[in-house]
């Protein structure tokens, strides 16, 4: 361990000097930069919020704050049944228009959505802000892919101590979406 720390310290000094030089030459006159939004497209659009079968990805709620946190409750079963939803009915339960949700903090960055309602239903969800925590501006190497088996995912019924998922971003999305829909609810 101490050997590793020495290496890190040395690397830090070397890299630190590089960064000092970099910052001096590139950022002496820069204005404050805003948080980064996905690099390649001006906005990332989800054209419809129709749920994929067999389960729905989100549950629009009428309250401004999402009613659930996707962390595992202590030693409870995660049942395979589909959760009840409050999805818009066929005649629509939302007022037509465009609604911007609140900015929700996903630690990696903010998430903010803009929802379009037409015919009383959600027709478009657009990201105004999305955490750019996953690098997308990289080169994809063409690696030979071994044939790893592919299977449909299946819900498990099991007691667990914790749950691993892309929770942070998804929770922030639900909060922002819920606040947009709350404005659209008559």
């Amino acid at each position: 361990m101490p050997e590793r720390l020495k290496k890190f310290a040395l690397s830090a000094v070397v890299i630190g000097s590089f960064f000092v030089a970099y910052w001096r030459t590139h950022h002496a006159d820069d204005e404050a930069l805003p948080p980064v939004i996905p690099t390649s497209s001006p906005s990332a659009s989800v054209t419809s919020l129709t749920p994929p079968s067999p389960t729905e990805p989100t549950q629009p709620s009428n309250s401004p704050v999402s009613d659930s946190v996707p962390a595992a409750p202590p030693s409870q079963s995660a049942t395979p049944t589909v959760s009840p939803t409050s999805a818009p009915t066929s005649q629509g339960q939302y007022r037509n228009g465009t609604y911007t949700g609140s900015v929700a903090d996903a630690f990696y960055g903010n998430v903010q959505v803009k929802v379009t309602i037409a015919g009383g239903k959600i027709t478009n969800v657009q990201f105004l802000a999305y955490p750019n925590d996953r690098s997308t501006s990289v080169r994809i190497n063409s690696l030979a892919t071994p044939q790893l088996a592919s299977q449909a995912i299946q819900a498990q019924s099991a007691n667990v101590d914790g749950v691993s998922g892309a929770s942070a971003t998804s929770e922030a999305f639900r909060q922002s979406l819920a606040s947009a829909l709350a404005q659209a609810t008559p």
């Binding site: 690397s11 830090a12 890299i15 630190g16 960064f19 000092v20 910052w23 404050a32 930069l33 948080p35 980064v36 390649s40 497209s41 990332a44 989800v46 054209t47 419809s48 994929p52 389960t55 990805p57 659930s68 030693s75 995660a78 630690f107 990696y108 960055g109 903010n110 925590d133 996953r134 690098s135 997308t136 501006s137 990289v138 994809i140 190497n141 690696l143 892919t145 071994p146 790893l148 592919s150 299977q151 449909a152 995912i153 819900a155 498990q156 019924s157 099991a158 667990v160 101590d161 914790g162 691993s164 998922g165 892309a166 929770s167 942070a168 971003t169 998804s170 929770e171 922030a172 999305f173």
Partner: protein, 251 residues
């Protein structure tokens, strides 16, 4: 056993200590430590060192040892992952992806130094375990269904192991690769399992950026296993992932 969950850094943070001599003060101490990390590294706090660095108000040489260490680790990871892990985006530096895994590792190390042998540290679904769980056998962690957060699709059993998941929650979100025409493929979730959360977390981030090649990258990496889910609901596991799986029949 003491278990507590708090919303911190915009995420649920769960700490569990199974050892009988644990007290609430031990848990509180770690939450305070994490609050300090948030103050230093949050890109959404204008007073954080990262924000000040990005505004040019601070040079790296003037920053804390901790910040310089994070930058050094980021550079090391970038090299190890052939450039896929990169905390700099369009001239703006955001180390949040690396800080998360590093912070969990720090808390786990701190608990070990205090003499605890059986604990779990969970920040937003990235989890480090040590020893055994509350029942006396392995810690059981669920892999969340990216299409339904109330469901799990795999159970992973760990003693002294770690798990992290990268993903985009939104089906149909297009991430474009500027070097190649058309969208990157439809990967929604990539879970990595290994010994230490710091390594697991950064490899999960890098592998996700590799789209469907990411699971291959992990398959070739000694000591790590992965489970990938695409937008059609297909799961692909690395060859050794099955060794970590728990069954419905357990418990």
């Amino acid at each position: 056993m003491i278990r507590e969950t708090r919303l911190l850094m915009g995420m649920p943070v769960t700490l569990v200590i199974v050892d009988t001599h644990a007290s609430h003060a031990d848990i509180e101490r770690e939450y305070l430590y994490l609050e300090g990390i948030d103050r230093r590294f949050s890109t959404y706090k204008p007073t954080s060192e990262i924000s000040r660095l990005n505004r040019g108000e601070l040079t790296l040489a003037q920053a804390s040892d901790e910040t310089r260490l994070i930058f050094a680790l980021a550079d090391q990871t970038k090299q190890e992952t052939h450039g896929y892990f990169n905390i700099e985006k369009d001239g703006y530096i955001d180390p949040s992806g690396l800080v998360k895994g590093w912070a969990i590792q720090q808390v786990a190390n701190r608990l070990a130094e205090r003499g605890f042998a059986n604990y779990m540290v969970d920040i937003g679904g990235d989890i480090q375990t040590a020893g055994h769980g509350p029942s006396g056998s392995a810690w059981r962690l669920g892999v969340q269904n990216p299409f339904n957060p109330r469901e799990i699709v795999k159970v992973v059993q760990l003693n002294d192991g770690a798990i992290a998941t990268s993903g985009t929650y939104i089906r149909g979100q297009h991430i474009y690769n500027p070097y190649k025409a058309g969208p990157i493929t439809d990967l929604v979730s990539l879970t990595v399992v290994g010994r230490r959360i710091y390594d697991v977390d950064r490899f999960a981030t890098a592998a996700f950026a590799m789209a469907k090649e990411g699971v291959t990258f992990i398959d070739r990496l000694d000591g790590y296993e992965a489970y990938m889910i695409d937008s059609a609901g297909h799961g692909v596991a690395t060859r050794g992932f099955i060794h970590y799986e728990g069954n419905d029949e357990d418990h």
